[in-house]
Amino acid sequence: MNARSFHARLIVGAALAILLALAVAGSGLVWLFQRHVEHREALSMEAKAKELLPGLRLDAAGRPVADTKPSDGRFWRPAGSLYWQASTTTGSIYSRSLWDQTLGSPGENTGETWTLRRADGPFGHRLVIISRLIRPDASRRPITVQFATDDDALVQSFQEFRLETTLALCLLWVVLVLAATLQVRLGLRPFGRVSAELDRLRRNPAERLSSDHPHEIAPLVEAINALADARASDLERARRRAADLAHSLKTPLAALAAQSQGARAEGATRSADALDHTIAVAQAALEAELARARSAIARESRAPREADVAASVERIVSVIERTGAGSMLVFDIDVEARLRAPLASSDLSEILGALIENAARFARRRIAVRAFYRAPSVSIRISDDGPGMQSGRVSEALVRGARLDETGPGHGFGLSIVVDLVSATGGTMTFGEAGLGGLLVAIDWPFDPHAVPEPVA
């Protein structure tokens, strides 16, 4: 757990706050308990004092005399844990339990109501003592009456109470910290989801954060999505401009080629060669940029992408069967009705165009195009009855700029563009041997045709 994480801070903060609150509550409880017990002890002793006080008087010498004495047996047993003492300046009387000891003086501020204090007593005990003044004869000096009980039992019960309270509060602390942890986890779970979705967004710029977050973080989510949209649209605009620029350079390149031809005609062969080389390099760069732009746009597109496979195949075949090598070939097309594939129609056209054109270069008489849905994929198979491709040449074909047919027309980017585009649209492409004898190109896109396409943001 990272010390800088919200999670850790909230849990540690909650644990400390709960500990502090429980410590204060525990001290308060112990204090209240102590006060309550002492009060009860005082009341108990006051009740016992009522047996002594009515019979208390002064003799002629001013010494206290008790006509009645408290009956509790502990007053009569030496060190019996209950003691009383009545004293004046001239003498004192005691309970038998005090034996030959005395209770100390209660001090100057003793009045005619009971006051409670703690003091060391006889026999090494700590005592709780109540004391007051009493005047049996208003004209004479008062008698100081003290009742005491051993504090040891109280102290022990206080200690037991303190221990039990501490244990209970510790247990409560653990429970509350666990509850706080649970609360923090539940409370921060939306942030965890935002984090996971941001991670997906980072890996795939076409992703967006979902819209069902708690309303407290909804503005943040909306701001992130708006930022991602703005970035995507800037990127797409930049890529489209790069593509437009690349296209717009093609005519000047053709013009340059014309000048090279002119130079060659005038005998400047070396200049023409250099110019042709430059044109070829520039053209390669343009084609690479166009392919990159198309793949990037396909990869990051958020629009619902579904292409009508039959229509795309027919469109491409209608071009190829009328032009170049395709005009001498038979196209055997078998596409499932209403078959859709999860990519933009223009991207499917580029893929099919490059593959079928390539097949047409090698086919003897026939090209077969099959397209079907077999859960969980939409598949297209393009095969020809040409010589096929040796496995070593397959990887060669996939290298950007490599060409399989050095003699025919084309710039040599066809297959590598297709590989990029198939991958950008989430598909896979493999090569094999066709039943017709030539090359079989298999493309598969994982796709659920029954799923509702996600709406455009």
């Binding site: 093609k250 053709a254 013009a255 080629a257 031809q261 002119g262 209608s318 069967e321 490059a354 026939r366």
Partner: protein, 221 residues
């Protein structure tokens, strides 16, 4: 042989004139869409090389106007845009071939000659057999008046059948007509051709005579 080259870039235009000139063509160069449409509409050319991005009237509109006016010369589109959807749009508009810029003059000449070879010997005529009409100048078929564009191979197949109405064309004969060799080779290719053709013109125009070959249905209702 006169060809019309339509190109608004002066360097590329000059290159077309000189390159095609060296290949034996007489080239008329035009640099805007309006004039291109007018020249193509009023003069006879063996073929047209058409740029798409033209001032005044774009190349595809020029092409559509020619085709709707019945101009049948072969048209090769020469464009900076090489996307397959754009190629398909050009072919749909009536083009016969498509090349992307920058181009190699040798390849352009070869494709132009290929186009001219394809239409060579086709006099402007319509042959009708049953419900099928074959326009030999535009290399199109019509069924009940509905025009259907054919691939060169499909056209040649129907051309063979329309020239021998009622008779069966054997696979060897078809192969010779289509490929210039009597080797029927992969007869599946011919079956695939007929299957595709039937999708375009309907199932009851070309009849399969089992074990013999194919024939046109003359009296289909």
């Amino acid at each position: 042989m006169r060809v019309l080259a339509i190109e608004d870039d002066p360097d590329v235009g000059a290159h077309l004139v000189s390159g095609l000139g060296e290949a034996g063509f007489i080239v008329d160069l035009v640099s805007d869409g309006d004039e291109a449409w007018f020249r193509g509409d009023t003069e006879d050319y063996a073929a047209v090389i058409l740029d798409l991005g033209l001032p005044r009237l774009d190349g595809l509109s020029v092409l559509r106007r020619w085709r709707s006016a019945g101009r049948t010369f072969p048209v090769l589109i020469l464009s900076a845009r090489g996307d397959w959807d754009e190629k398909a749009e050009g072919i749909d508009a009536g083009a016969d071939d498509y090349m992307a810029k920058p181009f190699v003059m040798r390849e352009l000449v070869s494709r132009l000659r290929g186009l001219l070879r394809r239409i060579a010997g086709h006099v402007s005529a319509t042959i009708t057999v049953g419900r099928l009409s074959l326009d030999t100048s535009r290399m199109t078929a019509a069924i009940d008046g509905r025009t259907i564009r054919l691939s060169p191979l499909e056209y040649r197949f129907l051309d063979l059948l329309t020239h021998q109405p009622g008779r069966v064309a054997a696979p060897q004969q078809i192969a010779e007509h289509l490929y210039g060799t009597a080797d029927a080779g992969d007869t599946n290719a011919i079956e695939a051709l007929v299957t595709r053709l039937r999708r375009k013109i309907g199932p009851d125009i070309v009849e399969t005579r089992r074990g013999l070959g194919y024939a046109l249905v003359e009296d289909a209702a």
